[in-house]
Amino acid sequence: MTAASLPQFPWLTLLVMLPLAGALLCLLHGNRTVESRWLALATSLAVFGVSLYLFFCHGDGGSGWLRYEDVSWIERYGIRYVLAMDGIALLMVLLTAFLQLAAILLAWRVEEKASYFFALLLLLESGLMGIFLAYDLILFYLFWEIALIPMFFLIAVWGGENRRRAALKFFLYTLAGSLCMLVAMITLYQIHGDQSGTYSFVIGDLLQTKLSSTQEVWLFAGFMAAFIVKSPLVPFHTWLTDALTEAPAAGSLDLTGLLIKTGIYGMIRLAFPLFPNASRDFLPILAVLALFGLFHAAWCAYNEDDIKRLLAYSSISHLGLVVLGLAAWQLTAWEGSILLMVTHGLTTGALFVLVALIRERTGTRSLQELGGLWGQAPYLSAMFLLFSLASLGLPGLANFAGEILVLLGVFQVHPVWAVIAFAGVVFAAAYMLRLVQGTIWGPAKVKRTLPDLTAREWLILLPMAILVVWLGLYPAPFIAPLHGTVAPLLLGGMP
């Protein structure tokens, strides 16, 4: 934390504030759709530029951080404005900036109250950046809740038929978990302050708190309540399928690509390091939940008719694998999990984009009514096939790298878990192939002429496709920032 004293350009603050400023400008543009559209694009391009700069020019914030910004905020309660970036945060920031760009392009044709739509997307980006960068509990909680509001409105106003119910369910479910976390946060702050005499919400300070095992278990449970609901692990996943199904296209992309990742990120950043002993005891339960989720969601996906819901279940199933990797508590598995978070964001994100495009063209998302798209829109179908194959983990495409790292890592520690998980991956092939078969192959059930991909849609999908291939063939540049970060986290968590 020595670097805090050095005057350096506040890049991380820029990442958080730039989208916020863009959102406010969009709001000021009231009814002018075109201006707000370009404004949103410019803002998200700028954010993407900043995150690329950070990716290529690693700073050194001291104490293992790439960058670290620390400003006094509410001194009376030891709350500080601390933003910190390590390798994991860097990847998540990059993913956020990239997917947000895609989301804004995807929302390009939104006509109804467009400036509000873009303002909410940007506000969401600001909140997500904050979640990935905050290193003070209250600051983290602030962004954690702030990110809910734009998503709530995106679903409630622009969503499908049951949007209001889905929005409320999304908000209350995640809020219930968050409030448990808030109580745990304050209690931890109190215990630490009573012990050391300095009251602080900064995570770096709280790491040294000595807790009795009962305290640790309860506090850990409080934090995990928030993260498990957000991830979501299986008994608590019903909000996600509803929210994903009802959300507008850009909202679904953000939800599946980014928002549910914040739960897993929270485990890595907060729950595990703060409560190492409790988390070690909890790992087997986490693994069981993850495996159960992997199979349950895959089974649901296999039996689902609505392709958007099918993808929602596939998301849950994939995240089960990510969590399993974390539960193995092993370097390779963790790196795989984090990589899988990123690649899953890309592949499933792209699939949600494609589902939105198909829905736009055919007016349906039901497997019963789809089929034979290959003959009607070949480029679109090719893209669909590419991302579906990537999603089921075909070697050479993005998810494969992450999945194989997870499975290898898990196998070294718990071979049985790995074997069970393998079966789950096969299951993924089953429902994905069913999806592909029912959508693009087979006879066309309805004769229609469909427009193929437009220039804007190419612009969204082509970079994603390139990245998916790149990450599948040569993921090393994206794993590199993780090397220095994951090992100390594992050590810090496992005495």
């Binding site: 954690w144 409105f153 209001r164 409030l179 304050i186 109190q190």
Partner: protein, 472 residues
């Protein structure tokens, strides 16, 4: 009463004499605008006087204090009165209420609230409480064309009379057992009293708390709240929800600060009351279809949460309570101000059907209303979150984990019913009719409230430091 006492009373005197002067003037000169402007000026002058004139004495006639704590609340209630008159202006003009009477009643109420917040004597407390209650009896029922106004006024009158009875009898019992009405002696002597005397004393304090419970609508004495808020004009409901309750809480903070160990004996009772108040308010609000009634139940939840801060009986608990109170006053008043600014000749938008889709008709004011509702719910970056944070922190520090968990649960339900309103606001419904565009003064009040909500949410440090300074 010496000159020093009078000097120390300057802000209150400005309110009372200013109100009386306006009342006199309106006997001959009934143009509403100058009278309203006069009322705002008087209230602002009182706030200025409270802030600028240093009191020469710290206690006035042994009834009221003139400490910086009292001054702080005098300023707050004076500003509230000014804002209240500003958002009532259109009501007074359009509905042809007597401007002079209306303004002077608001000023009297503010004087009563300011006195109550600074009471150091049970008689002073009683007198101040009756002062603003009387003013509110009239203000609630002042719109004779509204069918609910008379009912609301009557309900407030009846519950108020019961509360007065309880309080007077309670004070008599306290006097009988302790021999003093001055605080803290009336409280501390309870610890030295023995046998029947002590029992009578506790019974007295119990009755006192029942009366307080009626005034700040703690469950199970909260049933009048929704009906009264619904029937009263929105600005009056706003004052009633914030000022009249806030002044009582402010007085309680003062009482508890000096209460000592006796408070512990009442703690169990208050613990129970806080729990059922938070839950009754939250579940009561859940089924409401009328925004004013919903805000009434919301105020019940908030009173329960404030009680959590009071129960702590610690320095940080008191700081948290006062901060929560200020945050609640600004936010809740702002929410009623939005309703007032939309009111037109058809009345106020109240039922959810009238609010449906209004977010697109009046985007700025509905966004501000959403901000206030989210702050009442406790969303981070708003004043409401910081208030909840500091109060729960204080409670956890004092070991009231159970209370905090109930409070958190009530927050969760609160989010549900506030979000329901927001969903209604942004439901697409094209045939919604527009309401009044709002006057410049109303927009000014809303701007101030909204900025304060955000500022207190993001930078609460200044106010927290100020509060801890005035409490020592």
């Amino acid at each position: 009463m010496s000159v020093n006492d009078l000097l120390a009373l300057t802000p209150i005197l400005i309110l009372v004499l200013g109100g009386t002067a306006l009342l006199m003037v309106c006997a001959w000169y009934r143009a509403p605008r100058p009278l309203l402007a006069g009322g705002v000026t008087v209230a602002l002058m009182a706030a200025l006087a409270a802030g600028l004139v240093p009191p020469p004495a710290t206690e006035i006639s042994g009834l009221f204090s003139a400490t910086s704590y009292a001054r702080f609340f005098t300023i707050l209630w004076s500003l509230l009165a000014a804002a209240g008159i500003m958002i009532s202006a259109r009501y007074v003009i359009d509905w042809r209420l007597g401007a002079g009477e209306y303004v002077s009643l608001v000023l009297y109420a503010a004087a009563g609230m300011a006195l109550l917040s600074s009471a150091t004597h049970l008689l002073g407390l009683f007198l101040a409480l009756e002062t603003f209650t009387l003013a509110f009896y009239i203000l609630i029922a002042c719109n004779r064309r509204c069918e609910f106004a008379a009912e609301a006024g009557l309900k407030y009158l009846l519950t108020g009379a019961v509360a007065t009875g309880f309080m007077a009898f309670g004070i008599a019992l306290i006097y009988a057992s302790s021999g003093s009405l001055h605080l803290p002696e009336a409280l501390t002597s309870l610890t030295t009293a023995t046998g029947a005397l002590q029992a009578w004393g506790f019974l007295g304090w119990g009755m006192f708390l029942v009366a307080i419970g009626f005034k700040i609508s703690l469950a199970p004495f909260h049933l009048w709240t929704a009906d009264v808020y619904q029937g009263a004009p929105a600005p009056v409901s706003g004052l009633l929800a914030t000022g009249s309750k806030g002044a009582v809480v402010a007085a309680l903070v003062g009482v508890i600060a000096v209460a000592g160990p006796v408070w512990h004996d009442l703690q169990d009772l208050l613990w129970f009351m806080a729990v059922i108040t938070m839950l009754a308010g939250a579940f009561g609000a859940f089924t409401q279809q009328n925004l004013k009634r919903l805000l009434a139940y919301s105020s019940v939840v908030h009173m329960g949460t404030l009680l959590v801060g009071l129960i702590c009986q610690s320095a940080e608990g008191n700081v948290a309570t006062v901060f929560y109170l200020v945050a609640y006053v600004i936010t809740s008043f702002g929410a009623f101000a939005v309703i007032a600014s939309l009111a037109d000749e058809r009345g106020e938008p109240m039922h959810f059907d009238q609010w449906r889709g209004l977010g697109y008709r009046h985007p700025i004011r509905c966004a501000v209303l959403s901000l206030f509702l989210l702050s009442l719910a406790g969303l981070p970056a708003t004043a409401g979150f910081m208030a909840k944070l500091v109060i729960f922190q204080a409670a956890l520090h004092s070991g009231f984990t159970g209370l905090v968990l109930v409070g958190i649960f009530a927050s969760l339900i609160s989010f549900a019913f506030y979000l329901r309103v927001i969903l209604v606001l942004y439901q697409s419904q094209n045939e919604t009719s527009s309401w009044h565009p709002g006057s410049a003064m109303e927009h000014a009040v809303l701007t101030v409230c909204a900025s304060a909500v955000l500022l207190l949410g993001l930078f609460p440090g200044i106010l927290l430091d100020l509060i801890s300074l005035i409490l020592t």
